[in-house]
Symmetry: C2
Subunit: 633 residues, 2 copies
């Protein structure tokens, strides 16, 4: 088969691909991340590129205008390569390949560590223990391995230590070369503790664990200095699997078409790069990183481990494993200490994963007296309701609208994103991340914008544009659109919100609200029974609580009961990394939490329909909006 070169002009990158490969695949090969949504099915229109030179074979599409086609635009996923190419990628197509790391890291580091009620015992999943042994004599003639194991048991209080062949072989020489003073690396492996490695002398002060939040969209890694119990650095990047679609289901289908290993390689590559970056910045050797603790939704955990995920998307929606045992990190290709371990936070159900278990741990929901709700908003919205006596969890498919995707001008929370929209002196204002020219709107900006449009009567409670309500509103074939800021006004491109976008956003918030309501009803509870609501997720720190209530994403509770808790996935995973007790609590939480599949609820569709208004069909559920509406009247 022939191969051709594809040059991405602006990126100054050239790759060689086989005839018939798609332009999207070529971009992936060049490590250019395209924020497409549909996984290459040609229906989202997010992967537009401009062919400057060369021939492609493309399918017809309704997603390109005649002007665009004349200018050489193609949908990359629908374009088969048939010769050498030069390609330009428009700015709005590029998802960027790096989250604003410093900002993110700062945000995660600044997290309130005190949400959980009680401190966990200091007993890291992997730890170093130094022992100075008495030298053997004719009377004290225990074998080398048993001598070391007995000393380690005394020092650590752990009587379940085991040692593998490799160390057994090295030990006699190592002990005698180091005057019987050695440091052991001890790793928790279920009911036993493995002596993972032994070094001569005292190296117990030098040990790190990487803690990773494996998100569908974003992957975040923190480097933790274990002896100091401190976060050293953090880094984030986009999940490279996005080339197969932003939604979990699209990725599972891709794993079926290709193999689980293809998706595994992508996420492992991401994690390896993140770890290498934080290690290099902190002058830490990869071999001093002794474990990786990962929290992610169930599908992401399956991809990381190369587990078949097919049945997660097929009735009755069954995961391969929700509680993987500790594994050798090298077994999945993670590059840390060669004997380092990989821990995955256990999940609650096929669609409520380890990130949520970690969130329950981090917020202390499982040990609270009062009824508490945790909402984690992402590509899926997971809801947990409960207290120390009972817990129930479910997941609603929101689509990526609330993350700034599946919206024409949506983008992720990086430089150039409008993150805040507000009314000042009667005028609509906005704030842009990184003080740059605006390029699009991220999730928090979208929620604000919908609330502002509702406040100013530009859209009605059904989310329809009101004709003549504002000069910035226009209509085409009966469907409205609102121009927030145009290219002429200094934006990188026209930034607007269309009727389609509003529908996607309302669908997303309705899915979460309906799930919230059904969970409460199953337990004969109402919104006022929620004494505390924790809002979590990578974008949770940014959204305006009042606006989230205003559009009906969150229930109408006193704002004092609503608390931002940030990325609880990584906070919980970090607690586990530093305490076996916390890790065991994760298993307890998994066991104690009932997983409720909304697809088993006859009521869900009705509740969902009722929530398709702003804030809701039944305005009595939102007394503060009622009051506001009264004031406006």
């Amino acid at each position: 088969m022939s191969t051709y070169t594809v040059e991405f002009v602006s990126q100054n990158k050239t790759v060689r691909v086989e005839e018939g490969a798609s332009l999207l695949e070529a971009a992936a090969k060049a490590d250019i991340v395209i924020g497409n949504l549909c996984g290459g099915d040609g229906v989202c229109g997010r992967c537009k590129m401009i062919v400057k030179e060369g021939r492609i074979h493309g399918n017809g599409t309704m997603l390109l205008t005649l002007d665009e086609i004349r200018d050489g635009y193609v949908l990359a996923c629908q374009s088969r390569i048939q010769g050498d190419l030069k390609v330009e990628i428009p700015a709005q197509t590029l998802a960027g390949d790096r989250v604003e790391v410093d900002q993110d890291a700062q945000r995660f580091r600044a997290l309130n560590p005190g949400i959980s009620r009680r401190p966990f015992a200091n007993a890291p999943l992997v730890s170093k223990v130094f022992v100075k042994l008495s030298e053997p004599t004719l009377e004290d003639n225990e074998a080398d391995c048993q001598r070391v194991l007995q000393a380690l048991a005394r020092a650590s209080g752990d009587n379940t230590l085991q040692m593998g062949l490799r160390i057994m072989r090295q030990l006699p020489a190592l002990l005698r070369e180091n005057n019987f003073a050695v440091t052991a690396l001890l790793g928790a492996r279920g009911h036993t503790t493995e002596v993972m490695d032994i070094e001569g002398g005292d190296s117990s002060a030098r040990q790190f664990i990487a803690v990773v939040d494996v998100g569908t969209t974003t992957v975040v890694a923190h480097l933790v200095n274990v002896p100091q119990r401190a976060t050293v650095d953090a880094e984030a990047c986009f999940n490279a699997q996005a080339v197969y679609g932003c939604e979990v289901t699209a990725r599972i289908m891709a794993s079926e078409r290709r193999s689980p290993i293809a998706l595994q390689e992508m996420i492992v590559g991401n994690i390896n790069r993140l770890i290498a970056t934080v290690a290099a910045r902190s002058h830490v050797n990869l071999t001093d990183i002794t474990a990786v603790v990962c929290a992610g939704n169930s599908a992401m955990t399956h991809f990381l481990l190369g587990l078949p995920a097919s049945h997660i998307r097929r009735k009755p929606y069954i995961a391969a494993s929700l509680e993987p045992p500790p594994l050798r990190a090298a077994e999945v290709g993670l590059r840390i200490h060669p004997r380092g371990l990989l821990y995955c936070v256990p999940g609650i159900g096929s669609w409520v994963g380890g990130d949520i278990t970690a969130g329950i741990l981090a917020t202390g929901l499982y040990e609270r007296d009062e009824i508490t709700m945790l909402i984690d908003v992402g590509t899926n919205g997971e809801i947990v309701l409960g207290n120390k006596d009972w817990m129930m969890a479910c997941s609603a498919s929101t689509g990526p609208a609330l993350e700034g995707a599946s919206v024409a001008c949506g983008m992720m929370g990086e430089t150039g994103a409008i993150e805040r929209v507000f009314i000042e002196d009667g005028q609509i204002h906005y704030r842009v991340i990184g003080n740059a020219a605006p390029k699009g709107i991220c999730g928090s900006g979208i929620i604000d914008l919908v609330a502002v449009l509702l406040d100013k009567g530009i859209i009605d409670r059904a989310g329809k544009f009101v004709a003549g309500s504002d000069p910035a509103v226009s209509f085409q074939e009966g469907r409205g659109s609102f121009m927030l800021v145009s290219k002429a006004q200094g934006a990188v491109r026209d930034i607007f919100i269309r009727q389609d976008d509003l529908e996607n956003i309302i669908t997303a918030k309705a899915a979460i609200f309906a799930a919230t309501k059904i969970l409460l009803e199953r337990l004969n509870l109402g919104f006022p029974d929620i004494k505390r609501l924790f809002l979590a997720g990578g974008f949770g720190n940014f959204i305006d609580r009042q606006n989230a209530v205003k559009i009906g994403l969150l229930p109408d509770l006193p704002l004092s009961r609503i608390q931002y808790v940030g990325n609880t996935s990584i906070t919980g995973a970090k607690l586990a990394a530093l305490s076996r007790e916390a890790c065991e609590t994760l298993s307890e939480i998994r066991k104690r939490t009932t997983y409720y599949d909304l697809l088993g609820s006859a009521d869900y569709v009705e509740q969902f329909k009722q929530a398709m208004f702003l804030p809701h069909t039944n305005i009595e559920l939102f007394p503060s909006s009622q009051q506001h509406a009264g004031e406006a009247a």
Copy 2:
């Protein structure tokens, strides 16, 4: 470097070796086992060969007579190859390459299984469990792996089950292809139980474990049908490491010169061949053999695992490991089920290994009320003294004389060996294994012969030949010799016993007796306190108890207190294979038994000297001999 061919004429085998290699190495390469004792140091004279054609470079030696040198005899270990060769190996040099298997197997199978007091719980180290799962639904939505683990925990009562990545990956498809009915292979791994493999359907009736006694001289393997708790077959062979010497110390030195891996390959090769043989004979697939349970002395266990054994022979005599954890059998090269496990019976000290721990288990010594002694005679003699309250063990270096080696006409217990010598009608008679022409004398025959010579006054109590006592006695340079049967009388060669041989035998029995006495004295006990004496070892079945007492190898107890118990190494290992409780008892025995190093005893040399008489300097220790002497007078 040049290479040359060496043809072993009678064996019809030709090998190609490098210039300068020894003839002994060439023989090993041709899989011809030579029973040399010194490990190639040129001091035992057991590796004589005849060079028929070609050139060698040999060191001078006192171990060849002028006649032999004229006839082309060389010491193989001292002969460096410098050209193509044709070589003849004399019959007495050949150790044979196979023990009398049927006889051996019969002997081991016929063992009294009821020595141990109580039956152990039926819970094999590796077992198969069949489960039929309920199929998942929207309400019963546990993940596949957890569903299986929970069902297995219910079926087995084991809550420490763990499953690796490979099985996790296969499970979803396997469950659905087999209507959720599967058989799991569960293996004990310390504090956890590993799900080693899962097969579709019910295969729980088909499972085997190989149990191996790793002896310095002989390796014995039994194949056990686990569900039926029955021994299916047995096979034995010589330890191929004999090429490096018959004594443990010589082998350790060889492992230092070469590498522990060289010795590992030899013993692993032996075990693989034994297992393949019994499996083929019993029509069992190697993949249905799910574990190997090995018992051997500490050095043999080190070689099997490739552990450095150097410090076992160097003061203060410290082993690398005496209690290796369960390992993957493939990790050392054993060819059974690819995920099969290797268990090594824990040892008590550097010179009291797992074979003795197994012996204590098999004889139930550890749970007896009365004071009991276990003597295991081999290349080393191990002695255990104790009861349910206390146990102490030590080892005496006997040399291989009592196994028929380090004696001019000694040989192992195979066809052609004189195994019994006795007086009938005033004449000395003998019995030969396999009714063949006699080729040499094995251990049991040697003990008989010494007792008979003593009885007939042909040797005195110091072990010296008495001039004129018998026509078969002759003297050369003042040192006597007794011709048992000459070549002229139909033997393959002259079979005699020399003064040197007697000294080796007396040294061996003195070492064991002194050790026995010191153990007793340390505990303020005397011989009459021994209420039961178990005699174990590959040759224990054959020796005459009365003659063993007569020459002072065993203490002078009523014969009713002395019991042959055969190969307790393999009996104990088999008990452990079929019961985790028995396996845990082995660890208990190891912990409860005090290892006493005779090299730490100031008294040992004195006791040893006193035992250098037949039966002993102090005849009062042997009242039955005293009486006998009285009768003879």
